[in-house]
């Protein structure tokens, strides 16, 4: 269950004539926490959506875990061991926290609907197992207090954690986190960082992390890819990225008075 490597080569994507990604290469090592940074609209989420097969690239290819693919199939992601969270939280609001997390085991279900209705041995075993490990992962992420609540009654930060729990429950090999800490308080961020670290250390899962907070990025990531206007402008370790002149020009250096990235970077 160790982390998987993924490589994207020459990925190009456009929306109605607007190029969102221009021949992007992305090389992610197994077991790394790999951050993707760049200003809004740079194409970070699009890249993740391509890995998930939600967007179809016009050109380029993907190598995942030794398989060469021209595009991913969304329905097979979970089986491949790829899970994700979404920039705009995607939870099932009609379900409790525990049920949402249990959904993360969908692809492992072997029992049939009929088996579930009559309560076959397999269906009962699967249900009990899913319930049990959902409770365990919720405890790990400090969500035990709210585990039976309707998921949409939770705070924003807690919902983001539920999404993480759902992504972690099946023991993924590649975890895609699209701005998992956006909108969180400083305290929540600290805990989220600890959770991601712990998950990574626990299973060796490869993590792709999209994040705006440079402090978080520099602290968490092994390697960083910088996107700007759909182009990869740099890739390297945090210390390389911090001193990369292109990055400073295009992204870090320009006045980002709104989010205070400079201050964080300088610190």
């Amino acid at each position: 269950m160790a982390g998987a490597a993924i490589r994207l080569s020459g990925v190009t994507l456009s929306f109605g004539g607007i190029l969102a990604l221009k021949g992007v290469d992305l090389d992610i090592h197994a077991g790394d926490i790999h951050a993707i940074i760049g200003p809004n609209g740079a194409g970070k989420s699009s890249l993740v959506n391509i890995i998930c097969g939600i967007y179809r690239p016009e050109a380029g290819s993907i190598d995942f875990d030794g398989q060469h693919l021209s595009r991913m199939e969304t329905g097979r992601l979970a089986k491949l061991g790829i899970t994700r969270t979404f920039q705009n939280i995607v939870l099932f609001k009609g379900m409790s926290v525990t049920q949402n997390v249990m959904m993360g085991l969908t692809h492992k279900t072997r029992s049939t609907p009929w088996g579930q209705i009559i309560g076959s041995a397999r269906a009962r075993r699967e249900e009990a197992h899913a319930y049990e490990i959902a409770r365990a992962i919720l405890a790990r992420l400090d969500l035990t207090q709210v585990q039976d609540r309707a998921v949409n009654t939770l705070s924003y930060g807690a919902q983001k954690r539920v999404e993480l729990a759902r992504a972690l429950i099946a023991g993924p090999r590649l975890l895609l986190l699209d701005e998992p800490m956006a909108g969180m308080t400083a305290g929540e961020k600290v805990r989220m960082i600890a959770f991601i670290r712990e998950a990574q250390a626990h299973s060796g899962v490869t993590v792709i992390l999209i994040e705006h907070d440079m402090g978080v990025v520099m602290e968490l990531s092994d390697r960083i890819t910088v996107l700007d206007h759909g182009k990869r402008i740099a890739q390297g370790t945090p210390s390389e990225i911090q001193v990369n002149p292109d990055v400073i020009d295009a992204y870090l250096g320009v006045a980002h008075a709104d989010d205070g990235d400079d201050a964080v970077l300088a610190a």
């Binding site: 979970a78 089986k79 899970t83 994700r84 995607v90 939870l91 249990m102 969908t106 692809h107 269906a123």
Partner: protein, 346 residues
């Protein structure tokens, strides 16, 4: 307010133990043992039997629309398919037991449901609703114009065969009611089991976020077609019960768009994604008008204008529906849930 409702709904969906069947079982006991002691043909023929048939249809629609989020305006069409299929199976296969006839009625409706559920793979919400409207008109057209379905009977009104269960003739209002009760009880139990497990969660996932569901490995297309089939099965059986046990005639006319809307109102009033809601809503929509017209007859005396009462009734019902949607969007089911929680707390 509504978040509190959802919270309780979610709570009640924890790991289902047999305990959660205790309440429904007690209700069933009352309906199966106590109520049949009442000597009133009117109660069974005019109130309880149609109530059960509509409840079952609403339960079927609630699986599709409430749980899986696929809006349908074709419920009456599937009722009609069930009614005519049941009739034809029993007519053309001599000696076919009644329950097998009902099962075939449901299966036929399920097959038609899959066919007419295919647009759901591409269409959503309003557009899907419109496409199910096509089902409604097509089925009614086919049943009216293809005389084979009505055994080439030209009167347009055909009678179901006499109903037997084993050697037992279902020839009284109470017995027909008990047939309906038995069928509805079994199917309700199965539905409760279905929605409380992995498949039930997959349905809600498809409703709440198709993308999220797909990413997690839910086979969205298969899930949709599955629930179209199950829902149509339920509604088909409901249609057969409606025709065989309640109307005791089989005709396409009663299964029109009005009926489809009626079933939809039942689940909106009763509560979407709630098994109990289908029954509460049916009680409200089916039984209340009957009580109202009785009350009208008593209040106004024998010479009352039935057309006027009808109109007043519709306005009254319409106003109640609007009131409900404003005050209790989660339906009667949530209301009852709250009352129970209050009672348990005191």
């Amino acid at each position: 307010m509504s978040s509190a409702i959802l919270e309780r709904q979610a709570n009640s969906q924890g790991l289902p133990g047999l305990k959660s069947f205790r309440g429904p079982f007690l209700v069933l006991l009352v309906f199966a043992v106590v109520i049949p002691q009442v000597h009133s043909d009117y109660l069974f023929d005019a109130i309880l039997t149609p109530f059960l048939a509509i409840s079952l249809a609403a339960l079927g629609l609630n699986l599709l629309t409430g749980y899986a989020g696929q809006v349908s305006l074709g419920s009456a069409a599937f009722m009609a398919v069930g009614a005519f299929a049941g009739y034809n199976f029993l007519l053309r296969i001599p000696g076919l037991p009644l329950l097998a006839g009902l099962a075939f009625a449901g299966l036929t409706a399920a097959v038609i449901g899959i066919v007419f559920g295919l647009p759901s793979l591409r269409l959503r919400g309003f557009y899907l609703a419109v496409s199910t409207l096509a089902t409604q008109f097509f089925v009614q057209w086919a049943l009216t114009n293809i005389s084979w379905f009505s055994n080439d009977d030209t009167s347009g009104v055909i009678s179901p065969p006499p109903l037997h269960l084993g050697g037992f003739a279902l020839d009284s209002p109470v017995r027909r009611y008990l047939l309906c009760l038995g069928v509805v009880a079994v199917l309700t139990f199965l539905a409760m089991r279905l929605v409380s497990g992995q498949t039930g969660r997959a349905l809600i996932a498809v409703r709440d976020s198709e993308l999220g569901a797909r990413v997690l490995g839910v086979k969205v297309l298969r899930t949709k077609l599955f629930i179209f089939a199950v829902s149509s099965f339920y509604i088909g059986v409901a249609g057969a019960l409606w025709s065989f046990a309640y109307l005791r005639t089989i005709e396409p006319d009663g299964f029109d768009l009005d009926r489809s809307f009626q079933i939809l109102f039942v689940i909106i009033i009763g509560g979407l994604a709630s098994i109990r809601g289908a029954f509460l809503g049916a009680a409200f929509i089916v039984v209340l008008p009957l009580l109202l017209s009785r009350a009208g007859a008593i209040l106004l005396g024998p010479g009352f204008d039935s057309g006027l009462v009808d109109l007043v009734q519709k306005i009254f019902l319409g106003a109640l529906i609007i009131l409900f949607l404003r005050l209790e969007p989660a339906g009667l089911s949530a209301l009852v849930g709250r009352l129970r929680i209050r009672r348990n707390a005191t």
